[in-house]
Point group: C2
Chain length 192, copies 2
Amino acid sequence: MDTAPLKPMRADAVKNRAKILEAARIELELHGTECSLDMIAKRAGVGPGTLYRHFPTREDLLGELLHTWVTGVQADADAATGEHWDDVLDWLVRLADQAMTYRGLAGTMAATESDESSPLRSAHAAVLDANDQVFTRASLAGVIGSSFDTAEICRLVTGVAMIAEQADLSAAQLRSMLAIILNGLTQESPHR
Amino acid sequence: MDTAPLKPMRADAVKNRAKILEAARIELELHGTECSLDMIAKRAGVGPGTLYRHFPTREDLLGELLHTWVTGVQADADAATGEHWDDVLDWLVRLADQAMTYRGLAGTMAATESDESSPLRSAHAAVLDANDQVFTRASLAGVIGSSFDTAEICRLVTGVAMIAEQADLSAAQLRSMLAIILNGLTQESPHR
DNA sequence: ACCTGAACACCGTTCAAGT
DNA sequence: ACCTGAACACCGTTCAAGT
């Protein structure tokens, strides 16, 4: 179930699709998720109609590019033992950094979070899965209690990524905010 | 220092300015901070040039509208005794709600946070001041330690407001996230 | 001094015409 | 089956012409 099973694409279509994806990657890096689709088409050397044929929506294009992105997120999760508090914090920092790979990415992911039919669905699932792995290990290590809401944690990290991006925060400021959140997650609330 | 001291405006200009502000308020409520300026001008019954004459940038317009908004934020802060943990949490919830008054407001404020010459400067100052008042009271009441970073707290609340808005979260989900943050702020971190 | 609205640039999206 | 590019709608922004 890697690529679509039937209907092999025409040779020129295969080539155009690849050119579009490479052009899109560059434009996304330069101008973020709200970059001009016209520019992508121009950079790829195709007409705007061709771009729309391959990727009917902006999100379809982004979703395709996130396939390799997901690999990086999973690798980051694998690198986190979760044995110590700081290991978990490091993971949260890396996750936030990943969410800032392209300007606007965190916001786009937040906006599509609960859309079951979004092209970003698999990316969301991968992030939730990765975070769950790390926190499950942290829970076994006694760093955090046994009840944690992975979706909520990911939302908090996404929120921090969004402000860090908008307000152009330093790495230290980003880390400090995530430390507060992790602290809030690992301490039992004595209230109510 | 209420209004500009010199050069009284022509009668038609005064009237147009008021019409633009009222139209902008409606459009902002309907379509958020990224609403069409053309629509504002149309709704106000003026040409696009007139809008630009009164408000050279979108932010100038927003900054003007936030003058009354600031009053509400200050009232919310005044209503918070800070004597109990839940009082402080209630304040954070109200602040986040204020940041969601218009769609996109939290994001715009985050983006202009460190811009000294932004038309939103006074709005930022008011928010920082309001939050500082509440947390100072909370500190005196022993709810929180004596060292807290007001700017960082406001950033965290803004971040939560941004995801809540993008992901269309419920009031309960919003409150839960803010509770985690407040918990992280009120507990001493035992780590490094 | 202020207003109008035409004009321009840019962009997303569609679709008839091609191969 | 796929591509092209003209065409349309929409929007931000400017400015010459008006009063």
